[in-house]
Point group: C2
């Protein structure tokens, strides 16, 4: 079906004349309109789409609803902002438009990208969560409604929903994409992330979105790189992967754990190198450091808001503010220093390896929409700010997607994506789309 | 006298053959050896100096003793580190060496660049403070012992001692020079700064020292620029200066206030434009924000140290740790946000102006060595991270130096230095050196 074309596939089809940008945009918009009443991936859909010019000309994009759009409401998943239309685009929205992309709609987020869930279903199983907080972006890409959607990750909000929905999720290095005009949850942890259906699509999108802007003081531009949509990108041959189980390995679903072991065997059989390593003990402090950083920063951001709008803010948000307000400044500063120190230490730990192979989540998408799942398997990598990529790699016994997660050294994003290309080829999975249950 | 040559003057003299690098280095070292027993500017002097090759070849430099030097002790002004020699150079030390500079010695700092004073005298008046925390660097440059010295500024530790000692002090934009290997006081406020005897010397030094390094996560590189020592740099003609008195104007010495008014008249007479402006009320929060940031970060850094070495740490340092330990995380996060917001706001405030003209200190160097003077007139600009430059502009009735301070928009360092060149020319002062009282 036309709307199921991936990003680079679509660009190639435009060039050969197999389809046109406007036809593709219409197909995606029509499919989204048809599917959204049951899937609930979008909070808002555009009424018309016209193809723009540029490297993303003719590409429809879903944008997480904490990212400002000057022509569409941006509610941040919160009753406080219900129906509000921002005065201007977020940096990344404006950048997408300048590249020729068309904003197809705004995707469901949990309240301010924290816990309180939205109405989105997992496209593979109605009544299961798509994960969060970038719930709608993951679901929309999985359902083939858009080839690219933007999300954000503070704890595990890109990698986890991507894994639950069986798509590619990529969280670039901290600071790689400016966050100006995106509602902050915790500025020292917030990352813009990408949902696509192939690693090449993610690499192509990142090559155009990576930048820095003075409005984001945490920005740290990547070394620029280009991806030719016709020739693609070379996989990194025979990558050396460090299988990292982390201290919370036992909390993972046995099926998810078995998938990682089976994947390691498959990679070895394909010529890759996979060896178990145990991170030094200090890394166990990352979970509590991330929690401290989150609570202190979110507590500052939302303190006035929850006091002013007690009826329009959720209990999880209020709990987070309470937690943050009780923290000492020195504990927070200490957590930030640990974050910086371990980010540098990871480089030494990974000497001799190209990337880490680990779990993206504890297992398949849990049942129910009230709980978007446990981000714990993403937290250390988010806190370190290192690039993280999830790929679909299998299914649970009852047919829900399961993924793997690859993690690279800080700011070696292109290299991690090239490793991802190799892994994607080694996994040799054909594209799959969920059936519309409606 | 040969040792009184400025940095660029010396480079020119090397080129014409008027002197040689080795002769100049020897003259500076001899003068330092002779002068230091009474001045107490250096904690350590090198035994020999040999000229290196490069853009700073033949230039002797004094380095504040919180900056690591692998071949000289680095005590951080603290009994805890007395006699310790670091395993490696600080980034800026290594950079200076790679540029051909020779490290003449380590200069006195207050304890960890906070309050507890060192033994340095003001070269213009024995028994008066040279200011702090970069006490020895300011004194050594003023006494003509080195043409360039490195300091650091967290509150007012470059601009204030430079003004007290009658030399040029330059604090570049926050993030312009990496701080790797420098003992932190407060990472969100610490700047590397320069002491010279002319604006051109400061510009030349900055052109070679400005950089970024992954080891300093607060780095934000300036747009690179070059200064030809033969042709110099063009002054910015007819600069538009905003005379800013700040909320603490009344705390300044009447003579210091009168000097600013007289300087404004002189600049107008020379074709400059000087107009009074009042900063928006929000800027008054900068003093308490800076204090919160300092206490939280220093409290974290020194908490363990003061507990472990109660007899080797001062009361002011212990007080700072106590103050920081009592702070809430949300108050600290709020202070950091205010800092970032006002840094951006200053750009709008300065629309129509090239720089701010204001006080570098409350007046001339106070009597006594126990108190290094009040940094309050520097604190807002340090907290904002904007470039700040002090120039000698007059004397107090009893002959102590008085300066002016120029402050520019964030990261417009070169432009501020070119304004400084214009002001320096308009002030038309001849180089002065204090007589050795010994």
């Amino acid at each position: 079906m036309l709307h199921q074309l991936g990003l680079v596939e679509a660009l190639r089809a435009f060039r050969t004349g197999a389809t046109t940008p406007d036809a593709y945009l219409s197909a995606c918009l029509d499919a989204s309109r048809a599917r959204n009443p049951s899937l609930r991936a979008f909070t808002h859909l555009t009424s018309t789409l016209k193809a723009g010019d540029g490297p993303l000309g003719g590409i429809p994009v879903g944008i997480k609803d904490i990212i400002a759009t000057a022509d569409m409401p941006t509610a941040n998943g919160s009753a406080v902002y219900d129906g509000e239309v921002p005065a201007s685009d977020a940096w990344v929205t404006a950048r997408l438009r300048s590249l020729g992309a068309s904003i197809l709609g705004k995707t469901v987020t949990t309240e301010f990208a924290w816990r309180h869930p939205g109405p989105t279903h997992n496209p593979w199983r109605r009544g299961h969560t798509p994960g969060g907080s970038s719930s709608g972006s993951a679901a929309a890409v999985a359902a083939g409604l858009v080839p690219l959607a933007l999300g954000s990750q503070t704890f595990g909000s890109v990698i986890r929903p991507a894994a639950y929905c069986g798509v590619v999720g990529f969280k670039p290095s901290f600071g790689a994409i400016p966050r100006v005009g995106i509602h902050p949850l915790a500025g020292s942890l917030d990352h813009v992330g990408l949902f696509t259906r192939s690693v090449l699509d993610a690499a192509y999108a990142l090559s155009w979105l990576a930048a820095s802007d003075d409005g984001d003081r945490h920005g740290r531009p990547l070394v620029p790189f280009a991806v030719d949509p016709e020739t693609g990108l070379d996989p990194l041959p025979a990558p050396r992967l460090a299988l990292v189980r982390t201290a919370i390995w036992d909390q993972a679903d046995p099926g998810q754990r078995a998938l990682i072991e089976a994947t390691a065997r498959k990679f070895r059989a394909e010529g890759g190198f996979v060896e178990d390593i145990v991170l030094p003990e200090g890394f166990e402090a990352l979970w509590s450091a991330a929690r401290t950083i989150l609570a202190a920063e979110a507590g500052t951001t939302f303190g006035t808001l929850v006091a002013r709008f007690p009826d329009k803010t959720s209990e999880p948000l209020k709990d987070l503010v309470r937690e943050g307000s009780a923290l000492a400044a020195v504990a927070y500063v200490e957590a930030l220093r640990l974050q910086a120190r371990l980010r540098a230490d990871l480089d030494s730990v990974l000497q001799g390896f190209d990337a880490i192979l680990t779990l993206p989540a504890s297992g398949p998408a849990p049942e129910g929409l009230a709980f978007t799942g446990d981000p714990a398997f993403c937290v250390p990598w988010t806190c370190l700010g290192v690039p993280a990529l999830t790929l679909p790699a299998g299914e649970s016994p009852d047919g829900l997607p399961l993924g793997i997660q690859l993690v690279g050294p800080y700011r070696a994003d292109l290299r991690l994506l090239r490793i991802g290309l190799w892994c994607e080829a080694a996994l040799a999975r054909s594209p799959r789309f969920p059936q519309d249950p409606a």
